[in-house]
C-alpha cells in the first residue's frame, strides 16, 4: 500500500501509524483474530438483548433492526478534541444568539447578512415564537454538530442538529459494550469518560427550568411512542435520568400547568425534553391532526409555565438552506472568524448556482433542504446516468428545495472484518448541552461508519454502522 487517496485516521495518508492509535495498535497486533471475531458476535448479542434497536420507517411496525457495531474504536487525541470544542462552542453560541435574534429584533435580516425570504418562506420558522423568551434564554439545550474530517488538521461541519438530535444512546451503549468486552484496552489507554452524559443532561435541563420551578424541578421526556424509530433512546435517557417518559396522551393542561397523569392524579412538569417535532407538539397551535401533542402546551410555554427543550422553532437554525449562511451568522453574533469551517455550499435557489450545479451534477452531492437521514439525496460520483437525469429534472422543477456540495474526501477509520482491517468512511456527531450555566461537550460522540467499501453514506437507515469514539487524555 502506498499513498492513500483518503486520509485514514489510523494510518494517515502515507501509511505511518498516527500517534493516537499507537497504544491501540500494539494491542490489536497481538490479538487473535478469531477471538476478536467472537467478540464482534458477542457485541451483537449484547445489543440485541439490551434491545438497542431502531425501527425502520416504511417497514412493518414490528420489525426492529440492530445498528451494526464495529469493535475498532475511532480515536481522537486530546489536543485535536480541544480545538474542535472551541469551534463547536463558538458555533453553538452563535446558533442560540441567531435564534433569539430571529424571534426578536431580527437584526441579522436588517443587516442584510441573511436574506429575509430565507426566514419568511421557511417552514421551520414559527411565527408563534416571535417575542417569546424561553426560560434562561436557551433555545437549543441539546445540539449535535455533525463533523467530517478530510485531513490531519481539516474538519468541516456537515450539518447542525438543533431540533432533536438523536444517537446519544449509541455513544453511551457503545462505550458500555467496549468496557464489558475489552476492559484491558481501557487500562492501557487513558480514554475520557462519556458516562456522565445522562447526569449532565439532567443538570442542564433542570438548570433551564422556569423561574418559579423551585430547587428540584420535575423533568420528563416526551416521546412519540414505542413505534418511533428512536424510542429505545427516549426510554434509555428517561431511565438514566430517573425521570418519567411521557406521551402526549399522558399530559394535559391543569391549572395553567402542563401535568402528567400519575396513579395519584395530575402532577405538574417544569421541564419537558421533547423528542417530538414542532409540528406535532400542540394541535391547537400547530398541526391540528397531531395525536402526539398536548393541546395548549404552547400557551403555557408562552406564559413561562414550562421549559420545552429544545425550544419550538429551533429548526430555523439547522435548516440546510440556512446552513450555507453559518459563517456569516457566526461572525455576526460572536464578532470572530468561525473556528470550524462549513462545507462550500451552492444554494440552488440562486440562478447562477443552479446552473453550476446542473453542469457539474456528476461531481456533487445534492441534498434536500428539509430532508434528513440520508433520504432524497444524490451522490453524483456514485449515481447512474438514469439517477442523474432524474435528479436533474427534480432540480429544475424545484430548485429552492436543494443545496449542493462538493464530494468531500471523507476520512476513513478501519473496521474489523473477515480480512482484518479495512478502511471505511466515517463522520462524527459530538453532543453539546446548553444551559444558563454554560455549554458542556461530552468528550466523544457518535461515530457513524459506512460499512460498504467506498460508500460515503453513513446513515443507519442506509446501512451504516457505529463505532465507539475515544477522546484521549493527552
Amino acid at each position: 500500500m502506498s499513498e492513500h487517496a483518503h486520509f485514514d485516521e489510523m494510518w494517515g495518508r502515507d501509511n505511518v501509524l498516527r500517534r493516537p492509535y499507537q497504544n491501540f495498535h500494539s494491542w490489536f497486533d497481538v490479538e487473535d483474530p478469531k477471538r476478536l471475531r467472537n467478540k464482534q458476535r458477542e457485541a451483537e448479542e449484547l445489543f440485541r438483548l439490551t434491545g438497542i434497536t431502531f425501527n425502520v420507517y416504511g417497514r412493518a411496525e414490528a420489525e426492529e433492526r440492530l445498528i451494526p457495531f464495529d469493535i475498532i474504536p475511532r480515536i481522537i487525541s486530546g489536543q485535536e478534541w480541544q480545538k474542535l470544542c472551541r469551534g463547536i462552542e463558538q458555533r453553538v453560541r452563535a446558533i442560540n444568539a441567531f435564534l433569539h435574534d430571529i424571534y426578536h429584533g431580527q437584526e441579522i435580516l436588517k443587516s442584510g447578512r441573511v436574506p429575509v425570504d430565507m426566514i419568511a418562506n421557511n417552514e421551520a420558522f414559527l411565527p408563534q415564537m416571535m417575542g417569546v423568551d424561553p426560560p434562561g434564554g436557551v433555545y437549543t439545550h441539546i445540539v449535535g454538530i455533525d463533523l467530517v474530517r478530510t485531513g490531519d488538521d481539516q474538519f468541516y461541519v456537515l450539518e447542525d442538529n438543533a431540533r432533536t438530535p438523536s444517537g446519544v444512546s449509541y455513544m453511551l451503549e457503545n462505550r458500555e459494550t467496549m468496557l464489558r468486552m475489552f476492559p484491558e484496552l481501557f487500562s492501557q489507554n487513558r480514554v475520557q469518560p462519556v458516562q456522565d452524559y445522562s447526569r449532565d443532561l439532567f443538570r442542564s435541563l433542570a438548570a433551564s427550568a422556569p423561574m418559579g420551578a423551585g430547587p428540584n424541578p420535575t423533568v420528563a421526556v416526551l416521546t412519540p411512542g414505542i413505534y418511533n424509530s428512536a424510542y429505545y433512546e427516549h426510554a434509555y435517557l428517561a431511565d438514566q435520568m430517573g425521570v418519567e417518559l411521557v406521551e402526549g396522551h399522558d399530559l394535559r393542561i391543569v391549572d395553567g400547568r402542563v401535568a402528567m397523569r400519575t396513579t395519584r392524579g395530575y402532577a405538574p412538569i417544569d421541564v419537558l425534553y421533547r423528542r417530538v417535532d414542532d409540528d406535532f407538539l400542540d394541535p391547537l397551535n400547530f398541526n391540528p391532526e397531531s395525536q402526539l401533542g398536548i393541546p395548549g402546551i404552547m400557551d403555557v410555554y408562552r406564559a413561562g409555565g414550562i421549559t420545552i427543550a429544545n425550544a419550538p422553532g429551533t429548526g430555523i437554525a439547522d435548516d440546510k438552506a440556512i446552513y450555507s449562511y453559518m459563517p456569516e451568522i457566526v461572525e455576526f453574533y460572536t464578532g470572530e472568524r468561525p473556528l470550524l469551517e462549513n462545507v462550500p455550499t451552492w444554494r440552488c435557489s440562486d440562478k447562477e448556482s443552479l446552473a453550476y450545479v446542473l453542469d457539474n451534477l456528476a461531481d456533487l452531492v445534492v441534498k434536500e433542504v428539509h430532508g434528513s437521514g440520508g433520504y432524497g439525496m444524490l451522490i453524483g460520483p456514485a449515481a447512474s446516468k438514469k439517477e442523474l437525469a432524474e435528479f436533474r429534472a427534480k432540480l429544475e422543477a424545484r430548485p429552492g428545495n436543494y443545496i449542493a456540495q462538493p464530494t468531500l474526501s471523507l476520512s476513513t477509520v478501519p473496521i474489523f472484518g473477515r480480512k482484518g482491517l479495512s478502511p471505511r468512511h466515517v463522520d462524527l456527531r459530538p453532543y453539546v448541552l446548553v444551559s444558563p450555566n454554560g455549554i458542556k461537550i461530552t468528550p466523544g460522540g457518535l461515530t457513524r461508519v459506512a460499512l460498504k467499501k467506498g460508500s460515503l453514506v453513513v446513515n443507519s437507515s442506509q446501512g451504516g454502522g457505529t463505532k465507539d469514539t475515544w477522546v484521549l487524555e493527552d
Binding site: 440485541r48 426510554a235 418519567e244 417518559l245 406521551e247 396522551h249 402528567m260 397523569r261 400519575t262
Partner: protein, 313 residues
C-alpha cells in the same frame, strides 16, 4: 408513577402469567392425549374453552384436531392469547414501562421474547413439544425471578404483582369452571380410572400434583381437590391465595399513597364473602354457580383497579 406505567406493568405481568398458564394447559392436553384414556378431541375442546378461545378458534377451523389446537394455543397470530402473542404483548408493555423495570427484568423479558419468536416461529413437531413448552416456562420463570430479586418493593412492584395474581386467579377459576362437573360428588362413577384421569388433569393444569400429595396423600378425591384449588392458603395458584395476594398488594398501595380507593373494598368483599367459607358450604351453594360469581367479581376488581389508579384517561 404514570397511570400509563401502572397499566403497562399490570398487563406485562398478566401476559407473562398467561403465557405460562397456557403452556401448562397445552402440556396437560398433550398428556391426556397420550394416555389415550379420554375422548381426546373433547379434551382439546375443553382446553380451548379454558383458554377462553373456543369461539375464535371455531371461526377459523372446521374441526378440532390436536395439531390445530396446539398451533392455535401456542403460536397463532390470529389468537391474541396464544403464547407467542402474549409474550410479544408482554414485551411490548415492557418496552412501554422500560423506565420502571430493572435492567435484569428487561433483559429477561427481552430474552424470553427472542426465544419465543425463535421456538414458536414454525410449526412445532410433536417430538419437540415437551422441550419447547419447558423452555417457555423457564424463560417466563426467569423474568419472575429477576423481578423478585431486583425490583424495589414499591408501587411498581405492587402493580406487577396485582397483574400476576389477577391473571392467575382468573386462570384457576376458569379451569374449575370448565371442569366443575368432574368434581361434583353426585356423579355416578366414583373413583373409576376415568375419574382419576380427570382429577389428575385438573391438578396438572395448575402444577399441583406434588403439593396435593404433600397435603392430602396420594388418594385423589374431588372434595380435597376443590378445597385445595379454591381455599388452600398455601397453594400459590388457589383462588384464596391469589386473592389474598391481591388484597395485600392493594393494601400496600393504599398505605403508600395514603388513600384507600374502592378497589380495596372490592377485594375485601371477594375474600370475605367467597373465600372464607368451608368447602361443604361451597358445594351446597353450587360449585358452578360459585365459580361463575367469583369470575365475575374478579373481572369487576380488575376494572375498578384500572379506574382507581388512572390506567387511562
Amino acid at each position: 408513577m404514570l397511570g400509563k406505567t401502572a397499566n403497562g406493568l399490570y398487563w406485562m405481568f398478566r401476559y407473562l402469567e398467561r403465557a405460562e398458564n397456557t403452556s401448562r394447559l397445552v402440556e396437560t392436553g398433550e398428556w391426556i392425549a397420550l394416555t389415550r384414556m379420554g375422548a381426546t378431541d373433547a379434551e382439546w375442546r375443553s382446553v380451548l374453552q379454558t383458554a377462553g378461545s373456543v369461539e375464535a378458534f371455531d371461526a377459523l377451523h372446521e374441526a378440532t384436531t390436536k395439531d390445530a389446537a396446539i398451533d392455535w394455543l401456542l403460536r397463532s397470530k390470529d389468537n391474541p392469547s396464544s403464547v407467542l402473542s402474549v409474550i410479544c404483548a408482554a414485551r411490548q408493555n415492557a418496552r412501554l414501562v422500560r423506565t420502571a423495570l430493572t435492567h435484569e427484568v428487561w433483559e429477561a423479558t427481552n430474552s424470553a421474547f427472542m426465544e419465543a419468536k425463535q421456538l414458536l416461529g414454525r410449526k412445532i413437531p410433536e417430538r419437540d413439544l415437551p422441550e419447547v413448552l419447558g423452555k417457555i416456562r423457564q424463560k417466563t420463570a426467569l423474568v419472575r425471578g429477576a423481578t423478585h430479586g431486583t425490583m424495589l418493593r414499591n408501587d411498581i412492584y405492587d402493580f406487577a404483582r396485582i397483574g400476576t395474581f389477577l391473571e392467575r386467579a382468573d386462570n384457576t377459576a376458569r379451569i374449575l369452571d370448565v371442569k366443575y362437573y368432574v368434581l361434583l360428588p353426585s356423579v355416578m362413577s366414583v373413583g373409576s380410572s376415568i375419574d382419576n384421569i380427570q382429577w389428575e388433569t385438573i391438578l396438572r393444569s395448575v402444577s399441583a400434583r406434588g403439593g396435593f400429595r404433600m397435603s392430602y396423600g396420594s388418594m385423589l378425591n374431588p372434595r380435597d381437590i376443590a378445597q385445595f384449588l379454591i381455599l388452600d392458603k398455601r397453594m400459590p395458584r388457589s383462588l384464596g391465595f391469589c386473592v389474598g395476594k391481591i388484597r395485600d398488594n392493594l393494601g400496600y398501595l393504599a398505605a403508600d399513597y395514603g388513600e384507600e380507593p374502592p378497589s380495596c373494598e372490592v377485594v375485601t368483599r371477594i375474600a370475605d364473602e367467597f373465600l372464607s367459607q368451608d368447602i361443604e358450604a361451597i358445594f351446597r351453594y353450587g360449585l358452578h354457580e360459585f365459580i361463575q360469581r367469583v369470575l365475575g367479581h374478579l373481572h369487576a376488581l380488575g376494572a375498578q383497579i384500572e379506574i382507581d389508579y388512572r390506567f387511562s384517561e
